[in-house]
Subunit: 318 residues, 2 copies
């Protein structure tokens, strides 16, 4: 038995692999990514290659596969810069993966579980202050548009019984370790992470911008909960607005000041960026999530706690 | 200059061609379909072939093209029966057409106008009695899912400036002439058309089912209005719930009785079909359309008038 993790060598993919290793079990964990997984456990096998490549897919997904956690994607900034690459990876890559899962499922007792990640970037235009589950996706970005396409495809493949899909619209992840990435929301980690390490950082959006945030570990907990839920606990529409915490950019900077002091706070320079403000400003700052909390999904309690998690995981003395 | 009509040999395509011929102008009208257009005007050129075939697309769409009216599709019943065909035509065909339009637009002063048809089948699950423009598409059918994908693609190609798209979510068309088609809503014409010609017809859904209907000519008027609207009169989200009339199946049958008498009415036999009831029952019966009516879109005044239009156009003595 195996669980395939696309984007397994990425940040979230690494955390998902770690969480699956920690909870035990005997499944092989297959990382499908352009780079090999950093995990050295004998339970982890890396398949390196392009998601849309049939040979690569056949190497990663086979009769032994019981589930796929699909994290690989071109992010929001990268998608805005290169539409065709985003189409290739986010749409065609997902389609190839869904087709492979469909083929494998056809010979299995039950269709493969297929956890896909989406994003609040599927929303655009005018949104209410708290977005209900029935709110239309009217994306204002390439990333959002193509993720909305992916949502529809995974849902339809599930309705047809080709796969057993669960789509998680993740909040913006903060605080991510490492370096800035191509997401338009990269600053939501950068304005905390860089100053706490004595490095300057730029805040490209107004301080009253509301962000819908999740700590990395909380996001992974929710992804694995989505994987574990029995199909009967899912609605016929398989797309879920995963719980997050509403925090203004101003509150994020205040928290930085409390944790890192005036020195850290002073390292953040406001430098308005119209492109990023337009993309991030079109994303909702809050969602109705009571139904998902009742079904066992979780959220962070405070942004201070989220910063604390980052400090403990990445900055604390060894 | 030319206007390309995909599905030009189909029922709606024929009416669109006719309406464009009637309003004059000098553009060549290119019918792109698996069959040639029935129109014999020297202004009409038929390109026969598959929408997803690059050579066919290049023959139909070129630097002389100013607009595309994209009607070709595998309908709801056919899509439910053959998922892969629906993917090929409805998604890949539209993508190939969008890419061709993008290439041509790149060398033009303004991006090509691209009128695409969608359907109320994009809606599923629980819907409010009157659906607002911000209501989520959560399709319950392959046709609806893949049309929702098309909506997102046309909108995104428009946002990027690759084409100047306008997506019309058409009501169910009634009364269509001719023979039943593969749409799950085919009965919405059949229960009127067949009895008025002395032929038996089957009603597969409960009489309290609410339908959102448009007469064929009204739908064509709205499609051409969508074509004509200057870009500044469109919102940033290019998908429109085209006005229709809410009519229950019971009211439709009463109207049949008034127009065709007891004899015609008695030719409709109730024969519940769970598959069709499930598909059609997931479609909304009414939409908020005041905004579109203000922008010049129109709707029929009564179902009796719609039946009268059918009688005049297709049954009246020559």
């Amino acid at each position: 038995m195996s669980i395939v993790i696309t984007g397994g060598a990425g940040f979230l993919g690494g955390l998902v692999t770690e969480a699956l290793l920690e909870r035990g079990g005997e499944e092989e964990l297959v990382s499908l990514d352009l780079a090999p997984s950093a995990h050295t456990s004998p339970r982890v096998r890396s398949v390196v290659g392009d998601l849309a490549d049939q040979g690569v897919l056949e190497e990663a997904v086979g009769p032994e596969t019981t589930a796929i956690i699909h994290l690989a994607a071109v992010l929001s900034g990268g998608s805005e810069d290169d539409f065709d690459l985003s189409m290739h990876v986010n749409v065609d890559g997902t389609r190839a993966l869904l087709e492979r899962a469909r083929t494998v499922s056809a010979g299995a007792d039950a269709p493969l579980r297929f956890v896909a990640t989406s994003s609040l970037a599927v929303f655009g235009g005018e949104v209410p202050s708290v977005v209900p589950s029935s709110w239309a996706t009217q994306p204002d970005s390439t990333y959002g548009a193509l993720k909305a396409v992916v949502e529809l495809l995974v849902n339809e493949y599930s309705r047809k019984g080709f796969v057993d899909g669960r789509v998680c619209r993740l909040p913006t992840i903060s605080v991510r370790p490492g370096r800035p990435n191509s997401a338009a929301s990269s600053f939501a980690s950068g304005i905390i992470r860089e100053p706490l390490q004595g490095v300057e950082s730029v805040c490209p959006v107004p301080h009253d911008t509301l962000m819908w945030l999740s700590a990395p570990r909380t996001a992974v907990t929710n992804l694995l909960h989505a994987l574990d839920l029995p199909p009967e606990d899912l609605g016929s529409w398989r797309v879920m607005n995963i719980p997050g915490l509403t925090v203004s950019v101003g509150e994020m900077l205040e928290t930085l000041g409390r944790v890192g002091g005036d020195v850290a706070r002073s390292l953040v320079r406001d430098e308005p960026d119209a492109r990023i403000t337009a993309i991030v400003g079109s994303w909702p700052g809050a969602f109705e999530v009571d139904d998902l909390l009742e079904r066992g999904f979780v959220r962070d309690e405070s942004f201070a706690q989220m910063v604390q998690e980052y400090v403990e995981d990445h900055l604390a003395a060894p």
